[in-house]
């Protein structure tokens, strides 16, 4: 009898422990972020990681007692698609994340199989393009449309009546897609253009630039990162006076230093609080500055990330009312995100379309005015 009693006690203890473990797991949600915190495009990684952390902290500080706690874990991919999967596995192994945010478009593609297998929801808070929209059902893009944002450059070139365009392009999906959209628009109106893919770490563009100068190119488009700062300097050194155009990433401080100031005057597509819901955006900027001591180098990646996180947190806050006990987490979150038709965020009023991409974030044309500063192009 004593042995039976002891066995019963052990079994009950184990059951209680197991139930206890399960309960404690369900009381928290772990979210991962993979982005460029070093090496390249840090303006696309540091600001967003801070904005995500800010949103999580604000949520945890104001959540009700029965709402889930959210933890954010951050990994640096150095803007290399090859680092995305290892970073993801690390986050899964160490923190058992249910949601992953990733900024890099190539990295987003690299994680597709893994997130589906692990039933993890992926959110790209930086870019949304046609390719991304064709990815699996667990992938969402809460960001500007790549083609649309960079198409502004082509429209501007046409508007200025420029006739011959060189598009230097960094070899990744985002920049290639930007160049393609630009080229397509220019081709439509018969503007002569040439898209040249450069080497990944290339810093000497004199040959391409000299050739273009010789060919009478009157518009130079730099769809790439800080290395193109050297290209701008080299172009001016070659006596090229034609206008420069860039992508959405000109505010990387190294871009300016590499260009030795020749970046000034470059027109690019960009997004600032004035383009979004400026009341909420100003509030966000104040909170960001209070928490991190300064504004993000480039505001739009941080703003998009903040909205992307808050849209998810808004659903997590109501998980007890909206999620069935037997419903898988990814199924529940996917359905909830698809139901968002009007989210008032810092970037404006956002909806999520059937392809998992957001609508409502629209870039405008800006000009590099001085170091780290852009001003809206008026015409």
């Amino acid at each position: 009898m004593e042995h039976i009693g002891l066995k019963m006690f052990v079994i009950l203890t184990l059951l209680v422990s197991l139930i206890g473990c399960k309960e404690s797991k369900s009381e928290e949600i772990n979210i991962g972020y993979i982005g460029p915190l070093s090496k390249r495009a840090t303006d696309l990684g540091i600001g967003p990681s801070n904005a995500l952390q800010l949103a999580v902290d604000q949520y945890n500080a104001s959540r009700s007692d029965d709402a889930l706690k959210v933890n954010l874990f951050i990994e640096d991919d150095q803007w290399e698609k090859d680092n995305a999967l290892p970073a993801y596995h690390k986050l899964r192994k160490e923190h058992d994340i249910d949601i992953v945010y990733i900024s890099n478009t190539d990295g987003t593609i690299a994680l597709q199989d893994a997130i589906l297998k692990d039933q993890v929801i992926l959110i790209n808070p930086l870019n949304s393009d046609a390719l991304l929209s064709s990815l699996n059902q667990n992938t969402f893009k809460i960001a500007k449309a790549t083609e649309e944002a960079n198409g502004l450059i082509a429209i501007r070139i046409i508007e200025l009546g420029l006739k011959k365009v060189l598009v230097l392009t960094y070899p990744n999906d985002y920049m290639s897609r930007a160049a393609t959209s630009c080229k397509s628009l220019l081709d439509n109106v018969g503007v002569e253009n040439k898209v040249t893919l450069v080497g990944k770490d290339e810093t000497d563009f004199k040959d391409e630039l000299q050739t273009a100068k010789d060919a009478g190119v009157d518009a130079y488009v730099f769809f790439g990162y800080k290395e193109f700062g050297f290209a701008m300097k080299q172009a001016r050194d070659l006596g090229i006076e034609a206008p420069f155009f860039g992508s959405t990433v000109l505010l990387d401080p190294e871009f300016f230093s590499n260009s030795e100031g020749t970046i000034i005057g470059t027109e690019c597509s960009f997004f600032t609080p004035a383009d979004g819901n400026y009341v909420l955006a100003d509030e966000f900027m104040d909170s960001y500055k209070n928490k991190f001591g300064s504004s993000p180098v480039s505001v739009w990646p941080a703003m998009q990330a903040y909205d992307a996180m808050n849209m998810v947190l808004q659903e997590i806050a109501n998980i007890t009312e909206t999620k069935n006990r037997n419903e898988a987490f990814d199924d529940w979150l996917r359905n909830r995100l698809f139901d968002i038709s009007y989210y008032q965020g810092v970037c404006g009023n956002i909806s999520i379309a059937e392809d998992g991409a957001s609508r409502g974030i629209y870039f405008s044309l800006y000009q590099y005015a001085s170091e780290g500063k852009l001003s809206k192009v008026r015409r």
């Binding site: 502004l152 429209i155 046409i158 508007e159 009546g161 628009l185 109106v189 383009d275 038709s341 009007y342 404006g348 009023n349 956002i350 909806s351 609508r359 409502g360 629209y362 870039f363 405008s364 044309l365 015409r379």
Partner: protein
């Protein structure tokens, strides 16, 4: 109606009030539930819908104006284009969804469904046209394309203008429907609130009246018997033992009344018994003392005859014995007389107004010789006129003054002060002297009959004077006591009821 004990009556009273309160709460809840439902429908459905339709109309017009501006104002930059995109990609689809969701809760034949379907259909066409305009006027260069300008002018001027108007008309129709519902709900809510207010007021008034009635009933049912008891107790305390409390029912106060009646009955019986025994005793004392006088007188007479007719001067012993017999006979005669006087006190039983000042003056006249011989100073204050037995009161004062003179100190003339003051229910008299005083231990004993503190050789007397005094004071419903300091003097206090 027999309600039972006070406890039950109070419980019933409070229970009734609580019941009325509960009815009030239930009726209020029922009435307010209806109002709440109406208000909730207004708050969560009708008002948001009207607001949404307002915003829809605004956005619809804004889109049209933006399109006109883009086409005719040649505004092709992102400021306008982005807003048009926001409207066509986010805002209008959102409103369309809202309008669609409205139809889901409507009955199938509701005309609002048709209107809503029209709005969605027309908005879809409007969105398509705006997107076409945006695509046709991508850059400023496109404004120089006559064919394109012709196309967009057609789309903006005719198609979009017409669509915008139709959408607005349908939205206006839908809004009108909801405005009608809004008005109806407002009226209903107002009426329901008015009814609710009426119910609360009416039940409140009923509750207050009922409460007052119950409170008054309970208070009367408690206070009336208590008052009757109080009156009866007062009468009882005044010696009216025939008093009876009328009792009704079986509550605590009725039981108390029964007990009171039993007590009064018992008191009356005891009092009658005491009175009867007192009378017997008085009769006995009177008869005994009166009958004792006769043999004493005989003894005294024969002793006198013996002395007169059989001189016995030569026989000293016989003479002494006869003298002792004579003295003992006289002393016994005095004692018997004192006892007779004691038994006679109060026999007259005639109450009258007695002016104490006049009374004392009479006493003073009676004692004038003693007062003069002893050089007594008698100080008399302003004494009241009281209701009492004159003869007995005179005896009281006479005894106290006589005692004060008799027990005077050897080294000083007697000084006697008589005064009076009023205290609740009584006159309090004091007779103060500067005599030999009385030891503390004798302060009670001196008022007992035939109690003496001194032998006959020191102070003559029978020891009945202060017993007389106590009997007189008690006849007047008062008390007598002494405060004294040996060798300094004594003050005799007594009270006489002022309510007789």
């Amino acid at each position: 109606m027999v309600i039972g004990s006070i406890r039950n009556r109070l419980l019933l009273g409070f229970g009734t009030l609580i019941f009325v309160l509960l009815i009030n709460i239930v009726l209020t809840q029922i009435a307010s539930r209806e109002s709440t439902a109406t208000y909730e429908e207004l708050r969560t459905e009708i008002v948001p819908t009207i607001t949404m339709l307002d915003e829809y109309r605004e956005v619809n017009k804004e889109l049209f104006l933006l399109s006109l501006n883009k086409v005719f104002g040649r505004q092709s930059d992102e400021q306008y284009t982005n807003r048009m995109k926001a409207i066509t990609e986010v805002v209008l689809p959102h409103f369309k969804t809202k309008v669609f969701l409205l139809t889901q809760s409507l009955p199938p034949n509701d005309k609002k469904i048709k209107i809503s379907e029209n709005i969605i259909k027309l908005s879809n066409r409007s969105i398509t046209i705006v997107k076409e305009i945006n695509n046709l006027l991508l850059t400023r260069v496109d404004y120089d394309n006559t064919q394109r300008i012709g196309q967009v002018t057609q789309k903006a001027n005719l198609d979009l203008s017409d669509l915008t108007q139709q959408i607005d008309n349908n939205l206006s129709l839908l809004q009108k429907e909801y405005n009608t519902r809004y008005d109806a709900h407002q009226t209903a809510l107002s009426k329901e609130l008015h009814n609710l207010s009426g119910i609360i007021f009416l039940i409140g008034i009923i509750g207050i009246l009922l409460g007052l009635g119950i409170a008054s009933g309970i208070i009367n049912s408690i206070v009336r018997p208590i008052n009757a008891l109080q009156t009866s107790a007062l009468q009882l305390s005044n010696g009216n033992f025939d008093v009876m409390v009328k009792t009704k029912g079986k509550d605590e106060l009725s039981l108390l009344g029964h007990s009171f009646n039993n007590m009064a009955e018992s008191l009356q019986k005891n009092f009658e018994e005491i009175k009867r025994k007192n009378k017997e005793l008085e009769q006995f004392v009177y008869i005994a003392s009166h009958d004792l006088q006769e043999p004493l007188r005989t003894l005294s007479s024969f002793t006198s005859l013996l002395e007169k007719e059989y001189p016995i001067e030569k026989d000293e012993n016989s003479s002494t014995y006869v003298r002792f017999i004579n003295e003992a006979t006289k002393r016994m005669s005095r004692l018997v007389k004192g006892l007779l006087d004691y038994s006679r006190i109060g026999s007259t039983k005639e109450l009258s107004e007695v002016d104490c000042n006049t009374l004392i003056m009479g006493v003073e006249d009676d004692l004038a010789l003693t007062i003069g011989d002893t050089e007594t100073i008698l100080t008399i204050g302003n004494l009241p006129t009281i209701k009492g037995y004159t003869t007995e009161l005179r005896l009281l004062f006479q005894n106290l003054i006589s005692n004060a003179i008799k027990f005077r100190a050897k080294n000083r003339s007697p000084h006697i002060s008589i005064s009076a003051e009023i205290i609740p229910g009584f006159w309090k008299f004091s007779v103060k002297d500067n005599g030999i005083g009385i030891e503390n231990q004798f302060h009670e004993r001196i008022f007992a009959i035939f109690q003496r503190l001194h032998n006959q050789s020191e102070y003559k007397g029978t020891g009945i004077g202060l017993a007389h005094c106590r009997k007189v004071v008690e006849m007047h419903g008062g008390k007598i006591w002494v405060e004294s300091i040996p060798t300094v003097g004594s003050t005799f206090y007594f009270t006489i009821s002022n309510k007789q």
